[in-house]
């Protein structure tokens, strides 16, 4: 007689939670050495479930199907030389930035999930974090294949691994993940699952994926959507973990609040480059940073998730008002500084074209006319020195160049500083200063590129480009680049 098929819930419980065991050879605290130092109190480890109810069987089946779909698209693109269908090769300047970020972002996310999976003693979280660590490996591998295809035709993709580890701008994302991986396991989980995945990866993979499609980059679209479909599961884990901590003990609320404050701001700053990509790099633009921020952050996170968390005494993350004020600003601030550092970058930059400016004015209205259009006028004045002398000053916490304005005065650059053990540390914002002040012993150790170069830790100064993994031709102005000239030539040949 055929056995009755088990339901999803029963199957899930049998194959995940019920496989967990109580250690008998060693005490619980020895098996989970990091479980108590963060102060999180959990009374019932077993009652939490992953709403996706992922088991090994359905994980493997669904992921295999996603892979099959993705590689069919990718191979087709490779065969059809679809890079010539792009609206303009300028779009690939965004992909170069993404290539620099990917190894740190995805591979370190893989390591972080391994760490969470090993050290958080909630079976549902351990299993979900394990599958997610495998997801992140899939992402980085698929992205490398994507860069491999671009690298056959375009500059700037040849040494993404070196760039990722060493380039001064990439210390933004590197410091983000190293910060999360050196926190306790519960904080590490809050960092990746809440800060990164519930909130901001939507803009990276969905909005940017959609923009990629509008620019006929089907390959990034495919990568973005397939990655973010895994991130949906990761978001669920993040929300479940936060609720679990809040519901298990009221004493957890202030600890969780501090993490939400910190990782909201940390993630927000880390994603500044995406604002630049949406508003400036994309030749055909779909949704502005401001609109994406309103949709994914204001509506879904601040007005959505945080209103539910109010039930547990959680308020919106610290300085969220400043992020709202900045939605008119950060893409322009990022574009202006990147334009000035393209001689030390692994991607080309450019001033917005007449067509770009029409769109920017439509999306940013008065702020565009009164502030940013004027800054671009100055920046492109032939009497004005385009390149920044040396490297720009970086914030000690987020490691972004210090280019953000005072919340109340758009014309004045914000500078914050803290004195600690006789040294002065500089910050781009109240958010970054608050994070430092809470754990100065951690952030005083930050690997600040300019300091390390001067200390001789990056090889001889004249060989810096090589140390970073860049060829002098990788940077400079897009419209004077070989990439631009080649693309125009290839398109003509095909026509």
């Amino acid at each position: 007689m055929a056995k009755k098929k088990r339901g999803l819930k029963e199957e899930y419980n049998l194959l995940t939670r019920d496989l967990d065991w109580e250690p008998s050879y060693v005490p619980f605290e020895e098996m989970y050495p990091y479980v108590s130092f963060e102060g999180i109190k959990i009374h019932n480890w077993d009652r939490w479930e992953d709403p996706f109810r992922v088991t090994v069987e359905n994980y493997v089946r669904i992921q295999a199907e996603k892979e099959r779909k993705f590689h069919a698209i990718r191979e087709n693109i490779d065969m059809m030389q679809s890079q010539l269908d792009l609206t303009d090769a300028r779009w690939l300047e965004a992909m170069k930035l993404f290539a620099g970020v990917a190894f740190n972002g995805e591979y370190n996310a893989h390591r972080l999930f391994q760490y969470v999976s090993r050290h958080v003693p909630i079976p549902a979280i351990r299993f979900a974090a394990f599958t997610q660590s495998v997801d992140e490996l899939r992402h980085v591998q698929n992205e490398v294949l994507l860069f491999n295809n671009y690298n056959k035709y375009f500059q700037g993709f040849h040494s993404w691994k070196k760039v990722s580890h060493r380039h001064w701008l990439m210390s933004v994302i590197k410091s983000f993940f190293e910060d999360a991986m050196t926190a306790g396991p519960f904080e590490g989980l809050a960092a990746i699952a809440f800060g990164f995945e519930v909130a901001f990866t939507n803009i990276l993979f969905v909005t940017m994926g959609s923009t990629a499609m509008a620019n006929n980059d089907l390959c990034y679209t495919a990568v973005g959507f397939t990655n973010q479909s895994d991130e949906s599961r990761h978001m669920t884990l993040g929300m479940m973990a936060i609720r679990a901590m809040l519901e298990e003990d009221p004493d957890n609320a202030p600890i969780v609040q501090k993490w939400l404050d910190k990782w909201f701001w940390r993630s927000y700053r880390a994603f500044t480059a995406i604002a630049y990509i949406l508003d400036y790099v994309a030749p055909k633009k779909v949704v502005s940073w401001k609109e994406a921020f309103e949709m994914y952050i204001e509506d879904q996170v601040l007005n959505g998730l945080f209103k539910d968390l109010e039930m547990f005494g959680i308020r919106k993350p610290l300085y969220y008002e400043q992020a709202i004020i900045e939605k008119d600003r950060i893409s322009h601030q990022a574009a202006l500084i990147l334009h000035r550092v393209s001689h030390v970058a692994f991607f080309h930059t450019f001033a917005p074209t007449a067509e770009d400016q029409v769109w920017l004015e439509e999306k940013y209205g008065d702020t565009w006319r009164d502030v940013w259009a004027k800054k671009w006028e100055q920046q492109t004045d032939p009497n004005y020195e385009r390149n920044y002398p040396g490297l720009p000053m970086l914030c000690q916490t987020c490691q972004y160049p210090m280019v953000f304005a005072e919340p109340e005065d758009i014309h004045k650059t914000a500078y914050r500083h803290s004195e600690y053990e006789g040294e002065t540390y500089h910050f781009c914002s109240d958010g970054c200063k608050t994070i430092f002040d809470d754990e100065p012993d951690k952030y005083k150790e930050a690997w600040i590129p300019a300091h390390e170069i001067l200390s001789g830790n990056c090889g001889p100064a004249e060989d810096l480009l090589n140390y970073w993994g860049i060829d002098p031709e990788d940077g400079g102005d897009y419209y004077e680049s070989t990439d631009y000239k080649n693309f125009e030539k290839w398109k003509k040949m095909r026509a």
């Binding site: 709403p51 669904i62 669920t236």
Partner: protein, 98 residues
């Protein structure tokens, strides 16, 4: 800020363009009130105020084929709201503090 809080509070799904997504959207429209659909290049946002239910049988009717709730993972790129329930016959996405 105050402005943010005055907006309608939706839960929703971002679905990639594929036949399954269209069937899911049709099923969601049938089984929920105040459904809002916004199309972007490559994906569709389907939203409903505070709560959204996906029923397996409705999706199967719209698709004209069998469909398992776990197959949602192949169509969904992102979502928001809490996954309040995910069983063999339905999926419920909602905010609790309403």
């Amino acid at each position: 800020m105050e402005q943010v809080e005055k907006r309608n509070r939706y839960v929703g799904l971002d679905l990639t363009n594929c036949p399954e997504s269209e069937a899911i959207i049709e099923a969601v429209e049938q089984d929920n009130e105040d459904v809002k659909i916004t199309r972007f290049p490559g994906y569709v946002k389907v939203e409903s105020i505070n709560k959204l239910v996906i029923n397996k049988t409705s999706v199967e009717e719209c698709l004209g084929d069998s469909w398992e709730t776990e197959d949602l993972q192949l169509a969904v790129t992102s979502y928001y709201g809490f996954m309040a329930d995910w069983d063999d016959d339905h999926i419920v996405l909602q905010w609790d503090n309403v």
